[in-house]
Point group: C2
Chain length 288, copies 2
C-alpha cells in the first residue's frame, strides 16, 4: 500500500479509538482536553506504534490501540504545557488559539495533567500480557520524565542555548526518544525480543532526529497558515535550531542522512518493516 493511503487508514482507526476513549462530556476539563486532542494532529506517534506492532506480527487491536492512543494523549499534554506563557508562550497551535488562550492558564495546566495521567491509565487497558504492559509503562515513564522529554524541555527553557552540543541533546530528549519509544513499544507489545527492540529503538532515534531537524526547517521556511503555529518562534534569538546553527542547506542534508541511517537498520531487519522505511521518509520530507 502507498504510504499516504496507509497513514490515512491507520489515522482513521486511531481517531475512532480516541473518540471512544475520550467521549464528549459536559464539563470544562473534558472540553479543554478534547479541544487539543482533536485539533487535527497527524497522529504520527500512534501510527508508528500501530505499524510497528503489525510489522512485529501483532494481530489484536485491543492490545495495541490503548497504547497507541496513549502516545497521542501524552504528546498532546507536552504541547499544551510547552505553549504556556511561562514556557514557550505560544498563542497558536495547529491553526487555533493554544489551549491556555481558549481556556485560561489554570485549565490548560490541568488539561495537560489529565491527558498525561489518563494516557498512562490508557496503557493499562491493553490486553497484552501484564509483564509487557508493565514494561511498556516503565519505558514510557522513562521516555517522558525527569531524564526524558521533561528534562529536554527544562534544558530548552533554562539551558545554555547557544551551545550546539546542547541542541542535539535537547532534540534527542524532546523529540527523538519519544519517536523511538513509539516504534519500540509497538514491537514490545507484540512480544518481540530484546535484540529486535534495541535495533528498533536506534532506528527510531535516528528517524526522530531527522523528524526534529525537518521540524526546525519547516519552522524557518513556513508561514503561519501553512504551519498552524507561530513560525520562527523556535528560531528567535534566544533559541537554538538546526537552520540557525548549520544553515538551511546543511540542515536538509543532515535530516536526509538521519533518515538514511534509520532506513538501513529497518532494511537489515526484514521486509516486514518496509512500511517503517516509508514512514521515516515521510517524517523528514513532510511539508507541515
Amino acid at each position: 500500500m502507498e504510504i499516504v493511503a496507509l497513514m490515512a487508514q491507520k489515522r482513521r482507526v486511531i481517531e475512532a479509538a480516541l473518540f471512544d476513549y475520550l467521549p464528549d462530556r459536559e464539563n470544562l476539563l473534558n472540553q479543554a482536553m478534547r479541544y487539543s486532542l482533536f485539533a487535527g494532529g497527524k497522529r504520527l506517534r500512534p501510527i508508528l506504534a500501530l505499524v510497528s506492532y503489525e510489522a512485529a506480527g501483532g494481530k489484536e487491536d485491543e492490545q495495541i490501540l490503548p497504547v497507541a492512543c496513549a502516545l497521542e494523549y501524552v504528546h498532546t499534554f507536552t504541547l499544551i504545557h510547552d505553549d504556556l506563557p511561562a514556557m514557550d508562550d505560544d498563542d497558536f497551535r495547529r491553526g487555533k488559539p493554544s489551549n491556555h488562550k481558549a481556556f485560561g492558564e489554570g485549565m490548560a495546566v490541568l488539561a495537560g495533567d489529565a491527558l498525561m495521567i489518563d494516557g498512562m491509565g490508557l496503557v493499562t487497558q491493553s490486553t497484552a500480557p501484564p509483564h509487557f504492559v508493565q514494561r511498556a509503562l516503565q519505558e514510557f515513564a522513562r521516555t517522558l520524565g525527569a531524564e526524558g522529554v521533561t528534562k529536554g524541555q527544562a534544558d530548552d527553557l533554562y539551558g545554555e542555548r547557544r551551545d550546539p552540543r546542547f541542541l542535539r541533546k535537547i532534540h534527542l530528549r524532546k523529540t527523538a526518544l519519544f519517536i523511538a519509544f513509539s516504534i519500540r513499544v509497538g514491537a514490545l507489545i507484540a512480544g518481540s525480543n530484546d535484540r529486535l527492540l534495541d535495533r528498533l529503538f536506534w532506528a527510531g532515534v535516528l528517524a526522530g532526529m531527522g523528524f526534529q531537524v525537518c521540524d526546525d526547517i519547516l519552522d524557518e521556511t513556513s508561514s503561519r497558515e501553512e504551519l498552524g503555529k507561530t513560525p520562527g518562534k523556535d528560531s528567535d534569538a534566544s533559541k537554538l535550531t538546526y537552520p540557525s546553527v548549520y544553515g538551511l542547506k546543511r540542515s536538509q542534508r543532515i535530516a536526509a542522512s538521519y533518515a538514511d541511517r534509520a532506513t538501513k537498520i529497518f532494511q537489515s531487519i526484514g521486509e516486514d518493516w518496509n512500511p517503517l522505511i516509508a514512514l521515516t521518509r515521510y517524517l523528514v520530507k513532510r511539508r507541515k
Copy 2:
C-alpha cells in the same frame, strides 16, 4: 506500638527510599523536584499504603516501597501545580516559598510534570506480580486523572463554588479518593481479594473526608507559622470550606463522625487493621 512511634518508624523507611529514588543531581529540574519532595511532608499517603500492605500480610519492601513512594511523588506534584499563580496562587508551602516562587513558573510546571510521570514509573518498579502492578496503575490513574483529583481541582477552580453540594464532591475528588486509594493499594499489592479491597476503599473514603474537613478547620484556626502555608487561603470569599458552610463546631463533629464510620469498617475486618484505626484518628485530630 504507639501510633506516633509507628508513624515515625515508617516515615524513616519512606524517607530513605525517597532519597534512593530521587538522588541529588546537578541540574535545575532535579533540584526543583527535590525542593518540594523533601520539604518536610508528613508522608501520610505512603505510610497508609505501607501499614495497609503489612496489615494485609505483605512482607516484602521491594513490592510496596516503590508504590508507597509513588504516592508521595504524585501528591507533591498536585501541591506544586495547585500553588501556581494560575491556580490557587499560593506563595508559601510547608513554611517555605512555594516551588514557582523558588524556581519560576515554567520550572514549577515541569517539576510537577516530572514528579507525576516518574511517580507512575516508580510503581512499575514494584516486584509484586505484574497483574497487581497493572491494576494498581490503572486505579492510580483513575484516582488522579480527569475523573479524579484533577477534576476536583478543575471544579474547585471554575465550579459553582457557593453550592455546598459541590463542597463534598470537590473534597471527595481532591482528597478523599486519593487517601482511599493509598490504603487500598497497599492491600492490593499484598494480594487481598476484591471484597476486602472494596471495604478498605470505603473506609478510606470516610477517613479521607474526615482528613479534609480537619484540613479546612486547621486552615481556619491556624497561623502561618503553625501551618506552613498561607492560612485562610482556602476559606476566602471565593472558596468554599466546611467551617465557612457549617461553622467550626459542627465541622468538628462532622470530622469525628467520618472517623467513627471509618473505624467501624476497619474493626469489622479484624484486629490486624488496628493501626489503620489509630491512623484514622490521627488524620482527623492532627494539629497541622
